[in-house]
Symmetry: C2
Amino acid sequence: MSFHNPIVEAGVAGLAELFRARAVTPSEATEVYLARIERLNPSLGAVTALDVEGARAAAAASAARWREGQPLSTLDGVPIAVKANIAIAGLPWTSGIGAYRGRLPARDAETVERLRAAGAVILGALNMHEGALGATTDNLAYGRCHNPYRHGWTPGGSSGGSGAATAAGLCAAALGTDTMGSVRIPSAYCGVFGFKPARGFISTVGVEALSWTYDHVGVHARSIEDARLLAEAASGQVLALKAPEGPIAVLDFEGQVKVEPAVANAFAATVEAARTAGLLVTALRLPDYDFSRLRRAGLLVCEAEGAVVHATALGEDPEGFSAEFRRLLDWGAKQPAVKLARAYRDLAKAVAEVEARLAPFSALLTPTAPQTAFPFDQVAPANQADFTALGAFMGAPAVAFPTGLSPDGLPLSGQIISHDPAVALALAKTLAAAAPRSTPAGFTA
Amino acid sequence: MSFHNPIVEAGVAGLAELFRARAVTPSEATEVYLARIERLNPSLGAVTALDVEGARAAAAASAARWREGQPLSTLDGVPIAVKANIAIAGLPWTSGIGAYRGRLPARDAETVERLRAAGAVILGALNMHEGALGATTDNLAYGRCHNPYRHGWTPGGSSGGSGAATAAGLCAAALGTDTMGSVRIPSAYCGVFGFKPARGFISTVGVEALSWTYDHVGVHARSIEDARLLAEAASGQVLALKAPEGPIAVLDFEGQVKVEPAVANAFAATVEAARTAGLLVTALRLPDYDFSRLRRAGLLVCEAEGAVVHATALGEDPEGFSAEFRRLLDWGAKQPAVKLARAYRDLAKAVAEVEARLAPFSALLTPTAPQTAFPFDQVAPANQADFTALGAFMGAPAVAFPTGLSPDGLPLSGQIISHDPAVALALAKTLAAAAPRSTPAGFTA
């Protein structure tokens, strides 16, 4: 199954080919996405603010460049949507928080500036988990964002709108942010690629995520090539694909992280696919890495730093925050300083130990999340970010890649972490290719 | 005035020449320093542990190498002393804290290993302000370390023993640590050079300073050439001297940091000397840098991280800490986490702003401390570290260099901060050369 509309099916990389072949214009592509948003978003809840005029004007300008054979980049004219904590000039920069409903930035975030300079059409802002602290995107202020594979089920988070919009074909690709897994978890739950380059690779200026220590900007896309192209344009840096030269470590998480059977089976199949592809894979345990303790340490860093980020608004408009988000920030804010200092130290120490164990390997392969998406009425599993947080703490490039659907029809995902983004991207491409591709049924038309 | 003994007068660089010329052997040099320590330390209080046998054995081995014309480095056979928070195998690794009186490390700190590999003779451990948190070195557990220029007056701190031992000629040069000024302040108060290379330039493995965020290892020496040689051996990296290519910013601190008249006059003379030397100097204000607020933020980081560093001993042996040190750590530990998170952020932001203002300049010139040494019975001025903390927060190379004596006979000092250590060292050499050299009267014999 795939998208019936060739413009949506083309994603990012294919769209440039269509533009070059004069089969489609950027204005036509933009209208297709705007129409899909109008038709499909009301029940999906992925898009929270649209810049229809701006998108049309950008598309027209791009169309003129393509007509003259002078596109600014491969991304020229490609419709991109952006997580709501990344500033878009003139659109509400909400970070998914009610208190910021009226905040209209005068300037784009640096990464959005880069996208515009590459000719991209910025469609608008995407829903997210409030304040980027959480992974359900059950947002009380801006509405639930649903999983395109199952209404009433979470798309994951915090970049839930980015994962859902990309999977549902409401944009060619999307920007998200990732502090402990916020790009990769929704990519996993929605069955798309989620690529978090190394910390700082994409500028965080004009991005209000959660924790200045661990925030990253990343991309959501329907193919590795699309993810690569968007990350290049968003960063202004070149990205390649490269086969690994050394062995791949396969995380043996037995007894450390509780993983759903469907995820464990898919992971085993991914490992088998790696072997079949001729990759040298070796099981690796991280016996000193206490997943839940370090996740909690990371959360404390997020809560305490988040309390600083939102201090003014928390004081002036406490009702502009959900009780739950306020409770988390208040809790973090009030912990003793020594506990926060210890969290920073424990995390740095754990990363150093993991790095030492990973030194002989080209990459680390793990599941992306220990489970598939779950219904909104179910309590979010505490260990959702256990595998993704590791990559965030390391500040290393990490890719979530789709590995098919579970027996009950929900997306499965594997994660590759490698200090070489070219290796991470190449492995994700190889391993995803071994699993069946899927498209959410309600969105193919 | 200078040291009558040619071995002490030779410092580090001159000693290698004497060894090469066979005028002196490492064993003779070591005996001179051991004898001086025996004679002068009881009233000075700079040395807290000696390794007489180890030093003699190292000197004998070095003597054999020099005889064979095979020295390991220019530092081969040079007697060096080490601050008590830097591990020396088999000597009490006290960090100036009573609770650690019996802690005998099996291994040297990495930097001490490097010094031994270069052939240096490690004499022993030097007194310091308890736990490196403070700048008087009035140590209740290991005794007061006095200023060689005036008994009953502080040598500064926290590397007070390193500054005093170097100034008094109890070692050729010394290692210290610097978190907010702990190498540079005692160097200033004792009239020697204090060089803190960039953060991480000298390994901190096996060094228990205070704050893993801001700790640096640095050197105390009686000349820039000596400082350069010791920092090279301690780091295993090459250091040169290089004239600045751009203008030098001179900090205009008027209305921001209260500076003693003697220090202000000496600073004006240093600026004049820079002009005379043909350097382009420009006054620079840092209007957004709130010296006292940021110093307090830095102190909170030190207190909270220090509380983590010493948590076990604080729990098991609270009486092994002075009430004052315990009070500081307890206070830091108990502050709300949000305050600590804000301190980290404010410091990072302030550094980014300062870096932007310093971008057009090759270096920044400031006084080292706002005042000269003071009597132990006087309350330590709160602003002692205002100028040095800036260099620590930046993580940039910084040199304190002597600029003569105040009208009442106490050492004065200027500070050069530059991201290029070669420029920092070269400027410190030029500017120190413009002021009269001095040696503390009671220690010349």
